[in-house]
């Protein structure tokens, strides 16, 4: 990679724009730069059925709704979940997820007369709270049990919440519009005022 190409990559980093917005295309070598890669949650995926996609989006929005700031759907979380279920969960975890999703898909219309995504938010919340109550004995909820490996035996609702929360706060919208994002702080100050309503920094993983 030559200096010009390197600076182009730097421009992408600093501006947050894409290469085409900045008026150039990326060389093969530049594409090796993770920072100039497409956002992960825009990777094409075709794992869920359209009906399942609607349910997943509605559920994710119940976990992290749009408020005055973006919610799970705005942040591409449904696609993130589909990608993770298709490519990241192992066979056992995927079976738990699929079974949980099918349960929502089949059981809810019998009980409410409509698919999950067409219910009122109150009904949707009630259903998800029931799932959480039923799963509340899972080790997934243990206090401080967070910097650990993905728990393979975690029930569907726990898998769903983990993927939603993770997928949200590591997304561009979640990191920069709900958390605060500064890739190039240039200095360190260990004592600045924190107002009661201010968000955490989005930290590099």
């Amino acid at each position: 990679m030559n200096r010009r190409e390197f600076l182009q990559c730097a421009a992408i980093l600093i501006s947050g724009a894409t290469a085409s917005q900045l008026g150039f295309s990326l060389s093969l070598e530049q594409q090796g730069f993770l920072a100039s890669a497409p956002d992960y949650n825009t990777t094409p995926v075709d794992y869920f059925t359209p009906a399942q996609r609607n349910i997943v989006a509605a559920m994710a929005e119940i976990v992290i709704p749009r408020t005055e700031t973006p919610g799970a759907v705005d942040a591409g979380v449904p696609t993130y979940i589909e990608l993770m279920v298709a490519h990241w969960l192992n066979d056992g975890e995927r079976a738990i997820f699929n079974q949980g999703l099918q349960d929502i898909e089949l059981r809810i219309p019998q009980r409410y007369g409509k698919p999950f995504d067409q219910l009122s938010q109150a009904d949707q919340l009630e259903i998800m709270e029931e799932l959480e109550d039923a799963a509340s004995g899972s080790e997934w909820y243990e206090f401080g049990n967070v910097m650990r490996e993905f728990i393979s035996e975690a029930p569907f609702i726990c898998q769903f919440k983990e993927l939603t929360v993770w997928g949200f706060f590591t997304s561009q919208e979640g990191a920069s519009q709900v958390l605060r994002y500064n890739p190039m702080p240039m200095s360190f100050d260990g004592d600045i005022p924190l107002a009661p309503d201010e968000s955490s920094w989005s930290s590099p993983l």
Binding site: F6, L34, A35, A175, F188, W201
Partner: protein, 568 residues
């Protein structure tokens, strides 16, 4: 010696990491034509740092680690969770392609880089001087052999390398942790000031000081002060932290005397029984498998402790049936590593309305405070440990498994929680003959080189040090005013996990029980120098890289003088 011998190079340096980079710089700046052989892939400074500044949303799986990939190809390296991820993976060794004999011997984590610059790219950057007490420890308590070098011999060399490396820290005037040549220290979190004041009153036996790190707070030629982006291990195109790429290799390159050859796996050194010197190095190209040799007047092994020892063991000849330069029989023995692990975590509710700007790439440090004036009465161990600290504000990752849904959950996850101040003990390891590495009798790598086997376990002294570190951490966290403190477990880290393996070709005054003399020169083979961690006669409890750098510079100075005198 045949005077008409034509040499390809004046000196050959094996390895381009912290030690090899320094050897390359010093030797080329003194006018020698130098070949550096690096077994890893080429890597350009700056444009080779593929993960630098990538935001979380660009990472595959948005940062969840690719479990199957790591299990299959990186089962060892991926255990280094603090710096191995998709932003750094291309720096690391592929365990499947380059294995060691993990199913023989005892468990050992051998962390390896596989690029030019070696582990200097992914190191922890903590830089501390050994003290007079450290250099006298073996002679004082009788574990290991005495160092043939005193603090006063190496102090000027510490200063010499520190000025070039660029180390920020705070002078404290402590005899057990001599001050370096410091750039201005990085600022503290308000909570750290609070804790500092409380410890001064309630635990005056300890000093809380800046982590001393090889990261610039002031510009040096060609390198900029830190921009506080955070994850150093992805590489730093501004050269703000010291690596071979950012610092020593460019300096060597600038002399016009450097030839750097990547993808160059050193199979063995060839000993000439007539001249009693090494005549050439046998190299296999990692890509083409082509074999070649290079000759030189002298050879510097800087291939990492395990790498250099493996080369010597694989260079056995009639003259040295137990491994080159191993007439003493100690080669591969007396291996050491630092035990490390969380000793205690404190949750703090102080300074809740104070926050921070920027990602400070180091914690603070509590230097050794045990057994300083002879043996402490209550200590069932010799020597000591220091704590590296970490200060962080709880964020959404800690609340990831909260109950609840909706706007309330979103709001509680986005806001900072309490402060955490954690202490991680780094404990000294005694040199013991039984801790060793050797070559497998039947397993070879893809070049036909015998694989390394480890036979290493912690002794009672390290176990007791670790227990004490946990106990004292609890005392310190309470003195610091933690709302509550969680004790670390006493579990020992896996040998190798400290990534401070050292001691397998130790230096000493007696050629009968050491491989190297006081100038890192082989007792047996005068044109062989070894300046990576294998020369270490004892381990101290501080991070060792700075000491490798200082001894490398000193050994180069000595070698070039001998070279000029025509002795080598």
């Amino acid at each position: 010696m045949i005077e008409s011998t034509h040499y390809d190079f004046d000196a050959i340096v094996v390895g381009s990491g912290i030690s090899g980079g320094w050897a390359a710089k010093e030797l080329t700046e003194k006018g020698l034509k130098v070949l550096v052989l690096e077994r890893g892939k080429p890597l350009a400074a700056g444009s080779g740092y593929l993960g630098e500044h990538a935001p979380n949303w660009k990472f595959p799986y948005q940062g969840k680690k690719p479990r199957e990939l790591y299990e299959e190809y990186y089962p060892v390296q991926s255990k280094v969770t603090h710096s191995f991820n998709e932003g750094t993976r291309h720096f690391w060794n592929n365990d499947k392609a380059n294995p060691y004999a993990m199913d023989e011997g005892k468990p050992f984590l051998w962390a390896r880089a596989d690029v030019v610059g070696g582990r200097s790219l992914i190191w922890g950057r903590q830089t501390y001087r050994f003290s007079e007490m450290d250099f006298k420890a073996n002679a004082t308590d009788g574990y290991g052999i005495p160092w043939p070098v005193g603090y006063e011999d190496i102090a000027p060399w510490y200063s010499y390398v520190e000025k070039f490396v660029g180390i920020n820290g705070k002078a404290e005037g402590l005899p057990q942790l001599p001050d370096s040549e410091f750039q201005k220290p990085m600022p503290w979190f308000a909570l750290e000031d609070t804790i500092h004041a409380r410890l001064k009153k309630k635990a005056p036996d300890v000093t809380l000081t800046n982590g001393r790190v090889a990261i610039l707070t002031e510009d040096l030629p060609g390198r900029s002060a830190c921009h506080y982006c955070g994850p150093c291990a992805r590489g730093c195109s501004t050269g703000s932290y010291f690596s071979s790429q950012s610092s020593t290799l460019p300096a060597a390159q600038a002399t016009g005397n450097l030839t750097l050859r990547a993808n160059s796996v050193v199979e063995r050194l060839e000993y000439d029984a007539e001249t009693k010197k090494i005549s050439r190095v046998h190299v296999i190209d990692a890509q083409t498998k082509e074999r070649m040799t290079f000759n030189a007047r002298m050879f510097f092994l800087c291939a990492s402790t395990v790498g250099s020892t493996q080369i010597l063991m694989n260079s056995a000849s009639e003259a040295f049936p137990n491994g080159l330069a191993n007439s003493s029989g100690v080669l591969g023995h007396y291996m050491m590593d630092h035990t490390l692990g969380v000793s205690g975590i404190g949750l703090f509710l102080d300074n809740m309305d104070s926050y921070y700007h920027g990602n400070r790439p180091t914690g603070l440090y509590i230097p050794r405070f045990r057994n300083l004036n002879g043996q402490d009465e209550d200590a069932d161990f010799v020597r000591g440990y220091g704590y590296q600290t970490a200060t962080l504000r709880v964020d959404w990752q800690t609340g990831l498994n909260s109950k609840g849904f909706g706007a309330a959950l979103k709001d509680s996850l986005r806001k900072p929680g309490p402060w955490i101040f954690a202490l991680a003990g780094f404990t000294e390891c005694l040199p013991r003959e039984s801790n060793r590495m050797y070559l497998s009798k039947d397993k070879v790598d893809r070049y036909g080189i015998p694989q390394v086997v480890f036979d290493f376990e912690w002794s009672e002294n390290e176990v007791n040090l670790r227990k004490d570190a946990t106990k004292q951490a609890d005392r310190l966290l309470k003195a610091a005013g933690a709302a509550f403190a969680i004790a670390g477990d006493d579990k020992m880290s896996m040998p190798g996990e400290g990534i401070h393996e050292m001691g397998t070709a130790r230096m000493g005054a007696d050629p009968g029980e050491s491989v190297l003399n006081a100038h890192n020169q082989s007792h047996d083979v005068p044109n062989l120098f070894i300046t990576d961690g294998s020369f270490m006669t004892s381990a101290s409890c501080v991070n060792p890289s700075l000491t490798y750098m200082a001894f490398t510079a000193r050994a180069c100075d000595y070698a070039v003088k001998k070279f000029a005198e025509g002795v080598i």
